[in-house]
Structures are given as C-alpha cells and as structure tokens.
C-alpha cells in the first residue's frame, strides 16, 4: 500500500513540476493516438456504414470477421507492421520503422476494426428505424449514409472514444514498431513498461495515473462538446 501513496505523491509532483520529458511523452502519446483515431474513423466509419446498409453476398461473414478483429492482440499487430516496415520488408524503403508514423500506422490497424464493428451496429440499428422514411423520400444510398452518420454522430463519437481508449492504452504494438526510443518514440505506455523493468514501481504507477488523468480529460472534453451541442439543438 506504501507504493500507492508514494505513486500518487509522485504523480502530483510530476504534473505540478511540469517536467519537460513528461510533457514530451504526453504530447507524443496524444499525437499518435489521436491521429490513429482520426485515421481509423476515416477508414472504419465508411466500412461500418457500408456493412450496415448495403446487402451483398458474404456480408454476414465480413461482419463476423470484423467483429473478431476487435480482439486483435496489439503485439501481433506490432509484429505484422514491423515485418512490413522493416528494411527487409516490402515497405522498408519508406524508412518508417522506429518513427511516430510507424506507431500511428500500428494503432490505426489495431483500432479500425473496433470503429468499423461498433459503428456498423450503431448505424444498422438506426437504419432499421429510418429505412421506411428513406424509401418514401427516395433518398440515394449516399444521401442515406450521410443522414445516418449525422443522426448517429453522438453514438459514433463514443465509438471513436472506444477506439482512442484502446489506442492510448496499448503498449505491445508501439513497443515493437516504435522501439521506445527516448525523445523520439517514447510514449506513456512504453515509459511505464520501462520504469517497471527498472524496478521503479512507484514512478511507473505515477505515470499510469497521469495517463488515466489524460484519458479522463479527453473524454470530459468530448462530453462537454456533446452537451453544449445537445443544448443548442434543443434551444
């Protein structure tokens, strides 16, 4: 229990002191995971919308596969991305391994299935409600997708947050493709892993607390936007 008290004290000290290394690590964590979330939404939402609305042979199978991919182990994603980005791999010429870009790619691969699978469910439920209306208005499929995405925007925001949460919390993928290089690819989770392996358990726990506070901040921000938007809509 001593460790917990110590960890809280160190977390507070770390935040108050505005430690430059900590700020750098936090900024990179946010940059990598938020970019990955944006990319995953850009890829995952259209896939989810397509699966929710379109009827094609094999749709059920694709849905099952995408749902299953929500359970992708981060280390496996890291390994697959490593094998592609390694100098010996097919995309090695890009020189992306051990850069933040590699970490963004890995996290995007990790969370796109989450965004696709959850948004499919959201949009499918919404579509069931609206299908008749769309038919009576003779909306094109494109317009229908647009209307569904807009009406489901708050639920989809939660979907994006689920993706962000998974991205910012994972360590396996960014460790493999980023290499946990000081001042270049070190993020919150790899820093926590490093301090744990140094036996600095209180410091590791303190970093974990800081990470949770950041996740809380991002979620509170999104919640605030949601609330004020909802108020405006009803005003």
């Amino acid at each position: 229990m001593q460790d917990f008290a110590d960890a809280f004290a160190r977390a507070v000290t770390l935040v108050i002191s505005g430690d430059a290394d900590l700020i750098e690590i936090v900024a990179l964590s946010l940059r990598v995971s938020l970019t990955a979330t944006l990319l995953a939404c850009a890829l995952g939402l259209p896939i989810g919308a397509l699966l929710a609305i379109a009827r094609f042979p094999g749709r059920g199978a694709v849905t099952v596969v995408i749902n299953a991919l929500m359970g992708l182990p981060p280390v496996v994603v890291g390994l697959v991305v490593y094998l592609h980005l390694s100098r010996a791999g097919p995309l090695g010429f890009l020189g992306l391994l051990y850069t933040p870009a590699a970490m963004i790619i890995a996290q995007t691969v990790l969370i796109t299935p989450i965004v696709a699978a959850l948004s499919r469910q959201v949009l499918e439920d919404l579509h069931a409600e609206y299908a008749e209306q769309f038919r009576s208005l003779c909306l094109s499929r494109r317009a229908a997708v647009g209307a569904l995405l807009w009406d489901g925007r708050y639920s989809l925001l939660t979907v994006a947050l689920a993706g962000f949460g998974r991205a910012v919390a994972e360590v396996g993928a960014v460790m493999v493709v980023g290499g946990n290089i000081d001042h270049l690819t070190r993020v919150m989770t790899t820093a926590i892993a490093l301090e744990t392996s140094r036996g600095e358990l209180a410091l590791a726990l303190a970093l974990g607390i800081v990470l949770m506070v950041i996740a809380l901040g991002v979620n509170a921000l999104v919640h605030g936007v949601h609330q004020s938007a909802a108020r405006r809509a009803h005003a």
């Binding site: 940059r31 990319l39 390694s86 890009l94 391994l97 051990y98 963004i104 647009g146 392996s197 600095e200």
Partner: protein
C-alpha cells in the same frame, strides 16, 4: 457536410503522417540495436549527451534482448549493434551482416536470491555448483528464457552442470520470456533465484530482501561488443555516423566516459577496448 468533415480529418491525419515521415529521414542520426542491461542501467543517458555534444550526431537506442537486437540488425533495422553474446556476434560478422566486432567493455553476472536462501548457495564462488545446488533443492529459479545474452550465458552454465532445466520448466524452473528487469520483478515476487548482469541489478530499484549470493566466478564474465552493421549488406545503414559512434566509444574519451558511469557511487561497466 459529413464528407467534408471526413476529408478534412483525413487530410489532417495524412499531414501528421507526412510530418512523421519527414522526421524519419533526419540524416544526422543512427539507430543502435542494444541490450536491455545497458539501457536499463542508465549508461546511454550518461554517454549520449557527451557524444551528441561532441559530434551533433543523434543516437536512437532500441533496447531489446541480444537475440532480438541481432535479429533486428539482420533485417537492416539498425546501424550499430551493441550486445553481449560473443558467439552470436561472431556469427553475425561471419555472415557478412557486420563489418567488424570490437570488444567494448565488460562487467559480470551475479546470482541473486532471497535472504532465506533455500538452496544454501550464499557465498559460493562456483556458478555451476550453485546452479546444481538450486536444482538439487528444487528451489525456484527465474530464467529470462528469451534468447538474450544473459539467457545464453545461463544456458551455457546449465550445460556444464549436466542438468537440463527445461525438463523442469513450469515446476521450479520458471522462464519468464521477458527482459532482465521484468524477470527480476518476477523473481523478487516469487522468491526465485535469478541470474542477472551486475549493472541491471545495481540500478534495479525493487530489490525487496534480495541480495547477491554468488559472484566472482570467471565463467560469470560478461563481455560487451560493438559492431557496425555492414553497409554492403544493408544499403540503408548510416555508415559514416555509425562508425563515428563506434570510434568514439573505443577512443580514450569514450572509454573514460564508460568508466565514469556510476550508480550509487559504484562503477557498472569496465572499458576494455584494445
């Protein structure tokens, strides 16, 4: 509206990715594939500012086990290899993957364990004898089990004893399959003996009631070597800056810097470049 939102989000994301690409092709930098022991003990935090100040070359350290470091270097994902497993290093050079191997520095391995010392190995000076005693008592022993330099040395010592610990894996012999620090955490957690390099042990902060029980055997010598990845095998290698780093490490200035690195006023690595 929606599609505009998406395309702007995608554009922003693509821009960030492109920025990442730009930093990747920053030329005055090298990647060192290294062991965990050198990184965990803070050696690079001590050395790199001195080297970077003198040359302006940025050094990026990827700290993994020796086995993985060599594998990454074989994939050309690094410019310099700094590890501790001489036979594997020689094979790396013989295969044409490395230019030349240089002795850099050494320290030693120690066997640490709980105060209670159930196998009674405290004070033994023969590593093999100590391992045999642990096996005889079936006392819990935590091994790296990850093909690292430390693991390779441990396996060589077991081979000398004629005992096959793998046959007891999961019973008293526990392979953590992770780095030195993680294995020490696990060892301290379950009261298991652990063989560790002295540098990681000295700078390790979660020792519990553990202490060094066996040390001083010549077989526990731990030699580190440094190799430039062969630019002929890997055209992506930044040979000029990689060579500059190695030359500096082997120079009197670099060797003095290695000797000056201390934790708790104890020297962790002993330079021995020739």
């Amino acid at each position: 509206m929606i599609s505009r939102l998406f395309s702007s989000a995608a554009a922003a994301a693509a821009l960030t990715l492109a920025a990442g690409v730009a930093t990747a092709q920053d030329d005055d930098s090298i990647i060192v594939q290294s062991t965990t022991s050198t990184a965990n003990s803070g050696l690079y935090d001590h050395l790199l500012p001195i080297f970077e100040g003198a040359t302006g070359i940025e050094v990026h350290v990827v700290a993994v086990g020796t086995g993985q470091a060599i594998r990454n270097a074989r994939n050309c994902d690094g410019d310099v290899l700094l590890v501790h497993a001489r036979p594997a290093e020689r094979r790396f050079v013989a295969d044409g993957m490395g230019v030349e191997r240089f002795d850099l520095m050494y320290n030693d391995f120690v066997i640490v364990g709980p105060e209670a010392d159930p196998a009674g190995i405290g004070g033994m000076e023969d590593a093999q004898e100590a391992l045999a005693a642990i096996a005889g008592a079936e006392a819990v022993f935590a091994s790296r089990g990850d093909d690292s330099g430390t693991h390779k040395t441990e396996m060589a010592l077991w081979a000398d004893t004629g005992i096959d610990p793998a046959a007891h894996s999961g019973a008293w012999y526990r392979e953590t399959g992770s780095g030195m620090g993680a294995t020490l955490n696990a060892g301290v957690g379950m009261g298991a003996y652990v063989m560790t390099d002295r540098a990681t042990w000295t700078s390790f902060a979660n020792k519990g009631d553990f202490g060094i029980l066996v040390e001083g055997d010549a077989d526990l010598h731990n030699q580190y070597g440094v190799i430039l990845v062969n630019p002929e095998a890997c055209p992506s290698v930044n040979a000029e800056d990689g060579r500059a780093f190695i030359d500096w490490l082997l120079s009197p200035a670099g060797q003095a810097a290695i000797a000056a690195h201390e934790v708790d006023s104890r020297q962790l690595f002993f330079p021995n470049a020739r």
